[in-house]
Symmetry: C2
Subunit: 420 residues, 2 copies
Amino acid sequence: MIQAALKAGTHRRRCVFETFTRRLPAGRRYGVLAGTGRFLEQLAGFRFDDGQLAFLEEQRVVDGPTLEFLADFRFTGTIHGYAEGEAFFPHSPVLQVEGTFAEACVLETLILSILNHDSAVASAASRMTGVAEGRPCLEMGARRTHERSAVAAARAAVVAGFAGTSNLEAGRRYGLHTIGTSAHAFTMLHDTEEQAFRAQVDSLGTGTTLLVDTYDVEAAVRRAVEIAGPRLGAVRLDSGDLAGQAGWVRELLDALGNRDTQITVTSDLDEYAIAGLQAAPVDSYGVGTRLVTGSGAPTTSMVYKLVARENSDGVLEPVAKRSLGKGSVGGYKHAARRLDAAGRAGAELLALDPGLLEGESARRLSVPLVADGEILPGATGAEGVEAAAARHRASVAELPVAARRLSEGEPVIPTEHLDH
Amino acid sequence: MIQAALKAGTHRRRCVFETFTRRLPAGRRYGVLAGTGRFLEQLAGFRFDDGQLAFLEEQRVVDGPTLEFLADFRFTGTIHGYAEGEAFFPHSPVLQVEGTFAEACVLETLILSILNHDSAVASAASRMTGVAEGRPCLEMGARRTHERSAVAAARAAVVAGFAGTSNLEAGRRYGLHTIGTSAHAFTMLHDTEEQAFRAQVDSLGTGTTLLVDTYDVEAAVRRAVEIAGPRLGAVRLDSGDLAGQAGWVRELLDALGNRDTQITVTSDLDEYAIAGLQAAPVDSYGVGTRLVTGSGAPTTSMVYKLVARENSDGVLEPVAKRSLGKGSVGGYKHAARRLDAAGRAGAELLALDPGLLEGESARRLSVPLVADGEILPGATGAEGVEAAAARHRASVAELPVAARRLSEGEPVIPTEHLDH
């Protein structure tokens, strides 16, 4: 596309691309935007290196002028977007890119890959932390997704309220709280469970979490208390009827005098399993597979669509396609969330004419992220995760209570195009 | 775990870990192993760098002796596994790692992340290429998954029979055939569809593929033929009733004299949609979202379990956990696929005693990949993708015809533990 536009001279036309999803995954009430920070981080260093250019040349993927364009590539446009952690709805313009056709085109895959993945994980994570109602949720899914997705997934989970991650690389890269656990293999490595528990407590102290379901849970809990004493940090259950076991393990721990020893559970948890465990005496949830795969919705299905472009007379005009079932609405959209007197969200408002938002009691949603190619201070950085997590809490708290329902339903607020 | 084992002196115990899945995703008849080549590539350079070690030290994640162990880390063990592209079933030991506890433990996340992700994509891809019966399937999903997963997904898709990918980085890294397409944005960038088609043909020649559904399909097809002439490569349909449109677009192209112009279709395709289009005059399928997200099964749910370890007397003995619903079978498993006289697969055979496989008409499945820390020649490399793709074709051709059914069912061959 860039090569053909370069030859036709249309590559320089000023364009506006908008990133949005046409619909939420089936039954979901809201989505959570994540990945904006990662996108800005990568945009800062986005260049084509010699090896990449050589490949494109040798394989004749593009012609000489296009190679020159790519060799000099540096994004010079302007980007607005919803702040990371914000809730979104169908057609919310979560990232808006203004620039030449060629430069905006180059960024499409980067933007969509990051936002589609990270938002899928954050949207699932938000349902889990919502239903866990303050009990810590811990991200442990690295083994069930691509090795690099895993690092991004941990970050997205923390944006949406997870308390920590077992992914040390995510901890290092994004300053996340890291946690760990021992596996059945550690117990089985030793000649007896007792030796394994002693080895763990000797090295990590009594505050550690002992895994008690390798052989016999009751015997293991008694053994754990015997070895670690009253300050044993926690026991972990990873199989069987977690709610039932948590009940009697709690009673057993209390009877043995270990009232402060916590119970943490793992084993294919998701928002529904967590809901089912909320009545049980569980202190924290370790979530893996279902979190990093978006709990049934592994992508957010966001698209990146041209909504306005300069015509041959140099005038920026709205454009839209008419493809069946995939039609688009032309023009740059200003977005705001309508709030009632109590601060409760009522609708997602989109307007081509920003004046239409003036009379509304509404919170504006887009913030400037990049101006003339420069990433704005505070728009990115490691500290972004904490700020995004705070924004997620505030944004979700603002939604109608039905947002928290796990049953399938419509988006909890409608999206209104004010210009129609 | 490593820190505690180091302190207890059990880190040096010889161990065997096996990678397998307890079950296939609901309804699937077989799985396809992918990622072995990527794992070996990463294993070759697997070290902990100064920045990583400094993080672990500063955050007190591990103690001094563990830091020293990690600083010197280099895998010295032995690995066997199914060859990449091979079909697998529940409990197939697709990767077996023998080494000290500590070194085998370090590799767990790397192995599971890669095999779980890549095999999920390859397993979905195999169903798509199976049902497409020779019509080329093209990978176009980069935008719907994490930016690095996308590169691995393209590779896995080609292992399972895809003819090419739009992911240029995957093309560069793994020597895959790359393809491309133009988007609606390219059409809308121009003042008219005619100008867009002319720009594309001017730059890319008449053999290019023109996207014809931005405005009016019939008008666009006529325009495409007018501009590109009888040698127009293909037209792409991306919305609406693809089967119906393909039918009349084919008739229109033929009537206009463009019998050699192909029709390629895209738009949320998966194996079911492809099956529904097989009766239509479609020449190739572009598949995105559903491919890179595993078509409903985004992970293979493989686990990495300790099945044998040296005891305090230095004797290697089988170990197994008894966790409810997650029990494991101890001991190193030899694997083979039973074949009848016609070469048709009948069962996946697992045996602790390899002698039990001798009397069977069966094909042995495990091959040596790493010996004493050295990656064996031919076990990896860019040429691995083509070899894996050939193996995939052969392995799937060997399965009962029911393997190709899209309806939900049991694994197409049972897994038999011969020692029981």
